[in-house]
C-alpha cells in the first residue's frame, strides 16, 4: 500500500495554540484528513508538520447565530444571524442537524431555507468519509484534476504538472494558470446562502463572505493565508427563502461533483422572485456565481419560460475542462438542464423521481 511520509503531529486544544503552531511555517492543518492524508500518500502535499484540529472544542458546535456578528457580506443577504457552524463539525453531524433539514424531508416541495446545504453535505463522498470529513475541510478542499490526483510514480511519468513539481498544465498546455477544478459540494450551496466565514491566525481574526474565500486559480484557489485557520461558517437568517442543490456525478456515492448547481431564492406571496442566487460548482477553479442567471429570475414568476431563460444565462459562464470524469462538452451541455431541475424543484414541482434517477437514491433525511 501507499505509505504516508514522516511528519510531526501536534494536537492543540485551542485555536490560539493551533494558530501559534501554524505561524512557524511548513505546517498544514488537518481536520478529518479525508482530503489531505490521501494527498500526502501520493506526495501531492508533504508538510513537515501537521496541526490536528480534532481536539479543539470551540470548532465543534452548531449554534443559532449571533445577531451581533458583523460580517461584511452581500447587502441583499444581511448578517450572520442564522446559524453558526464550527469548522470542525463533521458532515455527518451537519446532515443530522434538524435546523438544516427543516422543510426538507425528501418530500416535495422543498421549502427550507438551508435545504440546499443539507443536500450538498448529504451528497459528499460516502457515509464513512462524511463521518470523518468536516465542513471546514470541505470548504478548503484541494482543487482536483485528473493530471494531479495521481500517485507520485504516475505524475513522474508525465513529468509532473504545474500544480505540483512540474511546469506545464497538461489540461491546456498553453494555459498560464492551473486549471484544477473546485470540487467542493458545500461551497456552492453556502455561497448561494450568502454565508460568511471566520479566519483566525496568530495575528488576529477576520470575517469575510465565503465567496471571497475563493479565487479562480487551481493552485491559489483560496485567499486564506497558510497561517490562517477557518474556524466558523456563518449563515444569515433566511426567512422566506428556499434553496436546493443538484449534483452531477456518475455514481450514487463516493464521486466528487463534475457539476454542482446551488440555487437559493425568495418568492413573494404572488410567487414572484424577489431575490435569487445561482452558484455553479466544479466548472472552474472556484465556485462560480451566475449573477446573470439570478437577475433573469428577479421580478418574474417561475414559469417554464423564465426558468429556461435563467438556465441559459446561468450555464453560459461554465467552463468545464477535460480533467474530470465525463467529457467536457457534455458537462457544459447539461449545465442548463441541471439549473432547470433546481429551479423547478424550488417552484414546487415534484422532482423526486428525477432526483432519484440522478442521485441514484432518495436523499432521505435520517
Amino acid at each position: 500500500m501507499m505509505r504516508l511520509p514522516y511528519f510531526r503531529y501536534h494536537a492543540p486544544r485551542t485555536v490560539a495554540e493551533a494558530a501559534d503552531l501554524l505561524s512557524k511555517g511548513d505546517a498544514m492543518i488537518v481536520a478529518g484528513g479525508t482530503d489531505l492524508l490521501p494527498n500526502m500518500k501520493r506526495r501531492q502535499q508533504v508538510p513537515g508538520t501537521l496541526v490536528g484540529l480534532r481536539n479543539i472544542a470551540e470548532l465543534r458546535g452548531i449554534s443559532n447565530g449571533d445577531p451581533s456578528t458583523k460580517l461584511r457580506v452581500a447587502p441583499s443577504l444581511s448578517r450572520g444571524d442564522g446559524l453558526m457552524i464550527g469548522a470542525g463539525v463533521t458532515l455527518t453531524e451537519l446532515v443530522r442537524d434538524v435546523r438544516l433539514r427543516q422543510g426538507y424531508g425528501g418530500q416535495a416541495p422543498v421549502t427550507g431555507p438551508y435545504a440546499g446545504l443539507w443536500q450538498a453535505a448529504r451528497q459528499v463522498a460516502t457515509p464513512q468519509l462524511r463521518n470523518m470529513g468536516t465542513i471546514g475541510g470541505n470548504l478548503c478542499l484541494d482543487t482536483r484534476c485528473n493530471y494531479y490526483d495521481q500517485n507520485y510514480e504516475w505524475r513522474k511519468a508525465i513529468d509532473f504538472c504545474m500544480k505540483k513539481d512540474g511546469e506545464t498544465c497538461w489540461v491546456a498546455t498553453s494555459s498560464p494558470k492551473c486549471l484544477a477544478v473546485s470540487s467542493t459540494d458545500t461551497a456552492p450551496a453556502l455561497v448561494s446562502l450568502g454565508a460568511g466565514v471566520t479566519l483566525a491566525s496568530a495575528t488576529g481574526t477576520r470575517h469575510l463572505p465565503l465567496a471571497d474565500l475563493y479565487q479562480n486559480d487551481g493552485i491559489h484557489y483560496l485567499t486564506r493565508r497558510p497561517d490562517e485557520i477557518l474556524t466558523a461558517v456563518h449563515l444569515p437568517r433566511l426567512d422566506g427563502w428556499r434553496s436546493t442543490y443538484w449534483k452531477l456525478r456518475r455514481r450514487g456515492a463516493f464521486d466528487f461533483p463534475v457539476l454542482g448547481v446551488a440555487c437559493a431564492l425568495k418568492l413573494d406571496r404572488s410567487g414572484t422572485v424577489e431575490a435569487a442566487r445561482i452558484v455553479l460548482g466544479a466548472v472552474a477553479s472556484r465556485p462560480l456565481e451566475s449573477s446573470n442567471g439570478a437577475a433573469a429570475l428577479v421580478g418574474h414568476a417561475l414559469t417554464d419560460e423564465a426558468i429556461a431563460h435563467a438556465a441559459d444565462a446561468a450555464a453560459q459562464p461554465a467552463r468545464p475542462m477535460d480533467n474530470t470524469d465525463y467529457t467536457l462538452h457534455w458537462r457544459k451541455r447539461v449545465t442548463r438542464d441541471f439549473v432547470t431541475y433546481a429551479l423547478r424543484e424550488l417552484r414546487g414541482d415534484d422532482t423526486r423521481e428525477l432526483r432519484r434517477r440522478v442521485a441514484r437514491q432518495e436523499l432521505l433525511t435520517m
Binding site: N146, D149, W154, D325, W330, R333, V358
Partner: protein, 839 residues
C-alpha cells in the same frame, strides 16, 4: 438419488467460510506477518516503450534500511502463463513495454523505506516508438514490441472456416452487417494482490499469494528461478476477489521469491491499487464485425465474425482470448456455417487477459445486439426469434463443441414471464424501455494450460476416528465459495454435516492438483472429484458397517451422521463408529478422487479453446430509463434466468448471479480501462487515465438495481449432482440487454460499451439530424488474414480436422490432440505456428 432425498445439496446454507469472513478472521495474504519479515517495492517504468540503457542502484543500496536491490539481470529466465507466450521477465532485462512495467525491486526494512529508495535508483532509457491502439500496431511492424508472434506487432492471427458461409449468405433472405466495439475493463478485486515469500527451515521456498492458480504459479516459480518444483510450495491465500485478475504468475511473486531465498528472510509485497491496474490481465478491448445471413423466419444460414483485440504489452492468456472471441457464438443458436477471424496485437499498455467471461462477452455483445436488429427487420419479437433458433441439446456444433443440456429456452420463458415482457416490450412510454439478450458459458475449459493427459482436479479425503473428515484439494477459494462446494459434495455422500468437514485447499505441498479457479471449472471438476473420493470412502465404511450389523451393503443409508438400514432405520451406527469399524477392517481410511474432462471432438488447430464438459445458459431482461435532454441513463431492474443444472447451494448461486449483474452493469455503463497520450511534441507519455478506485468508475451499491433471479434447474449428468457453472455466464447477457433496452427506450443504437449519456446524446443528435440513429464504430480495418483452416462441420461429414492442414498427417492421435491443444498455447512448441524469426 432424487432431489428430495438430498440433505445438503440444494439447500440454501451459510457457506462454511462465512463465519471467518464476516468476523474478519480470514487471513488474507496481507494479514500474514512473519518474524524478521522485510518489505518489497517495485520501481516501475515511467516510459511506455523504451530500451533500458543503464540502471544505477548504488544510491538506493546505500540508503539506510535497504537490504537488497534487484534488476532484470537477477531474472534471466522468462515465464508466462501459456507455454507459447513465455514473454515476461520478473524485472525488465533491456526493454520496458508500458508505464508500470517493473524495472527494479527494493527490499527494505519497511514499505516506506523501500518506497523512498525507489527514487534513488537512476534509470537511463532510450525511448522507442509507442503503440497506443491496435491500428497503429497493425500499420507499423517495427519496432516490434516482442520478437515473437505471428508478424510485426501481431501476436496472434487466426482464420477458421466451418462450411461455406459465402454460399450461406447467398441463400439467405437478409444479410446483416454490423461493427461493434467493446471497451476494455479491469477486474477491480477489493483485495489488491499481495504475497509473502520465505525460505522454510529446510531451505525450500514457500510462497503465500493471493492467486487463483497456485499450480501454475508453482510451475512458473520453479522455471523462472530454476529451483526443483519439489522444493517450491505455493499456498493460495483466500482471495479477496479475483475475477481472472489473479490467474497469471506475476512478476512480484517471482521477485519476492528470489529475494527471500537470497536474504533468508521472509519478504512481503502488497501492491497499491495503481499497481493492480498495471497487473491488469483484464478485458481486451475488441473491435468486431458481425455478418449474419438469415431466412425470413429467423433461421440463421451463416455467420462471419471478425475480431481485433488490443492485447497490451504481453501475451498472458491472449492466444486463448483470441480464440475465445470466436468460440462460443455457436452454442446458443443453431449456426450451420461459421467463419471466424481473430487478430490480437501488442500495444504499449498493461497486458490484457482473462476477465470473467474471458474473451466471450465482447462477441456476445455484438451477436445479441445484431439479433435485436434482425428481429426488428423481420418483425419478430426478439424473445420469440431466440426461442425459434435455440440450439438443440446433445449436439455437436459447427465448430465441434459438444453441447449437453440446454436450459436456454426455459431461461427465456422464465425471464419473459417474470418481467411481463409481452406487455412492456415496445409498449413503454418514450424514455423507458426493456431489452433482452441471452448467452452461454463453459463449465470448465476442456483442456489444461499446458498439454498433459492427467486429471484436472484431484481430491483426497482423510477420515478420522472422531467422525471428522478432512478434504484436500488444490482448488482456490476466491470468494466464489469453492470450499463450500467441496465440503457440500463430501457431506452429501457421507451423510454428515458440512461443518464436520475441514477443507484444506490451494496448497501445492498438501493438496492434490486442481488447475485453479478459472474458466468456471471448479464446481464441475472438483465437485466430480470430491464425489468420487467420497463414494470410495462410503464404500469402505459401508462394507465394514454391513458386516457389523448384518445388513446388505446396498441397503445402507448415510444420513444424519449415521449409517443405518434403510428398511429399519433404528439399526445402524454413528458415523464416527462407522469410521472406526472401517479403520479396524482396512487400516487408515483415506481415499482419492479425480476428474478428467471428456476428449474434445475438435481436432483442428485452435479447437482447444471452447470445448467444455457442459455449458451454462442465461437470459436477461434489463429495464432502463433515459432522459432525452441529457442522455442520462438509469437501470431500475434486471431480471435474469440462469440454467445452473442444479444449485448445490442456492445462496451461493444467487450471489454469483447478482455479482455478475453488478459487474456486467459496470462494463455496460461506465467501466473503461483507458489511456492518455500527451501531446507527442512535448512528451512521450502514454499513461493509464485513472488508475484509482475513485476515478475508474465501477458501480457502488447505490447504483445497483433490483435483480430478480430465476434459477433453471435441469440436472446435467456431466455435473456433480447435475450442477453447471454460475461464476461467469450470468454476466454475459446483461451488456447487450442494456443496449437493446436503450433502443427500446429512445430509438438509438449504442453499438459499443460503455453506454454513456454522452454517447446516447450524440446518437440522439444524429437521429435529429436525419442521420443513422446510432453511436459506435464505423469500420473494421483491412487485415491480412492467413489462409483459412477449413473444417467441414459435422453435418457435412467432417471429423473435426481441417482439410487443408498439413499437420493432419501426424500419426499418433495423442500428439494430434496435443497439436490442437497448442492453439490456445498449451501444446508442445513444435506444433505451434511460429513467428517469422523462427520460420
Amino acid at each position: 438419488m432424487a432431489a428430495t432425498s438430498f440433505k445438503t445439496i440444494g439447500k440454501p446454507r451459510r457457506r462454511v467460510d462465512g463465519r471467518a469472513k464476516v468476523t474478519g478472521q480470514t487471513k488474507f495474504a496481507d494479514d500474514l506477518m512473519l518474524p524478521r519479515m522485510v518489505h518489497c517495492k517495485l520501481l516501475r517504468s515511467t516510459l511506455p516503450h523504451a530500451r533500458v540503457v543503464r540502471i544505477d542502484a548504488s544510491r538506493a543500496l546505500a540508503h539506510p534500511g535497504v537490504h537488497l536491490v534487484m534488476t532484470g539481470r537477477d531474472f534471466p529466465i522468462p515465464y508466462g502463463i501459456l507455454p507459447v507466450s513465455q514473454d515476461e521477465h520478473a524485472l525488465a532485462i533491456d526493454r520496458v513495454r508500458f508505464v508500470g512495467d517493473p524495472v527494479a525491486a527494493v527490499i527494505a526494512r519497511d514499505e516506506l523505506t523501500a518506497f523512498d529508495a525507489l527514487d534513488l535508483i537512476d534509470v537511463e532509457y532510450e525511448p522507442l516508438r509507442t503503440f497506443a491502439d491496435p491500428e497503429e500496431s497493425l500499420t507499423h511492424s517495427t519496432p516490434r514490441i516482442h520478437d515473437y508472434g505471428d508478424a510485426g506487432n501481431i501476436h496472434k492471427i487466426v482464420s477458421l472456416g466451418f462450411g461455406d458461409v459465402e454460399q450461406a449468405f447467398a441463400d439467405a433472405d437478409h444479410v446483416f452487417e454490423d461493427t461493434f466495439f467493446y471497451q476494455g475493463s479491469t477486474h477491480l478485486p477489493i483485495e489488491q494482490h499481495a504475497a509473502v515469500a520465505a525460505k522454510d527451515p529446510d531451505g525450500k521456498l514457500v510462497l503465500w499469494s493471493s492467486t487463483q492458480t497456485p499450480h501454475y504459479v508453482h510451475r512458473a516459480l520453479a522455471k523462472a528461478l530454476a529451483i526443483p518444483a519439489a522444493h517450491v510450495r505455493v499456498i493460495a491465500t483466500p482471495n479477496g476477489g479475483g475475477f481472472g485478475g489473479k490467474s497469471d504468475p506475476f512478476n512480484h511473486e517471482v521477485v519476492i521469491a528470489k529475494a527471500a531465498m537470497l536474504l533468508d528472510r521472509p519478504v512481503k509485497i502488497c501492491l497499491t491499487r495503481e499497481e493492480v491496474f498495471y497487473c491488469h490481465r483484464g478485458r481486451h478491448p475488441v473491435l468486431m464485425h458481425f455478418k449474419t445471413g438469415v431466412k425470413r423466419d429467423g433461421t440463421i444460414t451463416g455467420l462471419h465474425v471478425k475480431t481485433l483485440l488490443d492485447g497490451g504489452a504481453y501475451g498472458s492468456y491472449g492466444v486463448a482470448s483470441t480464440f475465445y472471441t470466436g468460440a462460443l457464438q455457436t452454442v446458443t443458436y443453431h449456426i450451420p456455417t461459421y467463419h471466424f477471424q481473430g487478430c490480437r496485437v501488442f500495444t504499449n499498455k498493461p497486458p490484457c487477459g482473462p476477465k470473467r467471461g474471458h474473451g466471450t462477452p465482447q462477441s456476445r455483445f455484438g451477436q445479441e445486439i445484431q439479433l435485436d436488429k434482425i428481429a426488428e427487420t423481420l418483425s419478430l419479437d426478439p424473445a420469440e426469434l431466440r426461442l425459434r433458433i435455440v440450439e438443440r441439446p446433445d449436439t455437436l456444433t459447427a465448430n465441434y463443441l459438444r453441447i449437453g443440456t440446454i436450459g436456454l429456452a426455459e431461461c427465456i420463458r422464465r425471464v419473459t414471464h417474470a418481467a411481463d415482457w409481452s406487455s412492456t416490450y415496445r409498449k413503454l412510454p418514450p424514455g423507458h424501455g426493456v431489452g433482452i439478450a441471452c448467452s452461454s458459458y463453459l463449465s470448465g475449459a476442456g483442456l489444461p494450460i499446458y498439454w498433459n493427459d492427467m486429471p484436472h482436479s484431484g481430491v483426497q479425503l482423510k477420515l478420522d476416528r472422531s467422525g471428522g473428515v478432512t478434504a484436500f484439494c488444490g482448488a482456490t477459494e476466491i470468494g466464489q465459495g469453492s470450499d463450500d462446494v467441496l465440503v457440500a459434495c463430501v457431506a452429501e455422500i457421507l451423510g454428515i454435516d458440512p461443518i464436520d468437514i475441514r477443507a484444506v485447499t490451494g496448497d501445492t505441498d498438501l493438496t492434490p492438483v486442481d488447475l485453479g479457479s478459472y474458466s468456471s471449472r471448479v464446481t464441475l471438476m472438483m465437485g466430480n472429484a470430491a464425489i468420487q473420493a467420497a463414494e470410495r470412502a462410503r464404500d469402505l465404511l459401508a462394507e465394514a458397517v454391513a458386516s457389523k450389523i448384518n445388513v446388505p451393503k446396498d441397503r445402507l443409508v448415510f444420513a444424519e451422521r449415521r449409517v443405518f438400514d434403510a428398511e429399519n432405520p433404528a439399526t445402524g451406527v454413528a458415523f464416527s463408529d462407522a469410521v472406526c469399524l472401517a479403520e479396524t477392517m482396512f487400516g487408515t481410511i483415506g481415499t482419492t478422487g479425480s476428474y478428467t474432462p471428456p476428449r474434445s471432438a475438435a481436432k483442428f488447430k485452435g479447437g482447444g479453446v471452447g470445448p467444455s464438459p457442459t455449458y451454462s445458459y442465461s437470459a436477461a431482461i434489463v429495464e432502463v430509463t433515459v432522459e432525452p435532454s441529457t442522455g442520462w441513463i438509469d437501470v431500475p431492474r434486471v431480471w435474469i434466468a440462469h440454467d445452473i443444472g442444479r444449485a448445490l447451494n442456492p445462496t451461493l448461486v444467487r450471489g454469483q448471479v447478482e455479482g455478475s449483474v453488478y459487474m456486467a452493469l459496470g462494463e455496460a455503463l461506465m467501466e473503461e480501462q483507458t489511456f492518455r497520450r500527451l501531446p507527442p511534441r512535448l512528451s512521450h507519455a502514454l499513461v493509464h487515465k485513472f488508475p484509482s478506485m475513485l476515478e475508474y468508475k465501477s458501480p457502488t451499491t447505490m447504483d445497483m438495481p433490483d435483480v430478480i433471479t430465476e434459477l433453471v434447474e435441469a440436472p446435467d449428468p456431466r455435473g456433480p449432482f447435475g450442477a453447471k457453472e454460475v461464476g461467469q455466464g450470468p454476466l454475459l447477457p446483461v451488456m447487450p440487454a442494456v443496449a437493446n433496452a436503450v433502443y427500446d427506450a429512445i430509438g438509438v443504437r449504442i453499438d459499443e460499451v460503455p453506454i454513456t449519456p454522452e454517447k446516447i446524446l450524440k446518437a440522439l443528435d444524429a437521429k435529429a439530424a436525419g442521420k443513422t440513429p446510432r453511436y459506435g464504430p464505423s469500420r473494421f480495418p483491412d487485415i491480412a488474414w492467413p489462409e483459412t483452416l477449413q473444417v467441414p462441420p459435422p453435418w457435412e461429414g467432417g471429423d473435426g480436422t481441417a482439410v487443408n492442414d498439413q499437420r493432419r498427417s501426424v500419426p499418433d492421435t495423442r500428439e494430434r490432440h496435443g497439436a490442437s491443444a497448442s492453439a490456445p498455447g498449451v501444446g508442445p512448441r513444435r506444433y505451434e505456428k511460429v513467428g517469422p524469426r523462427e520460420r
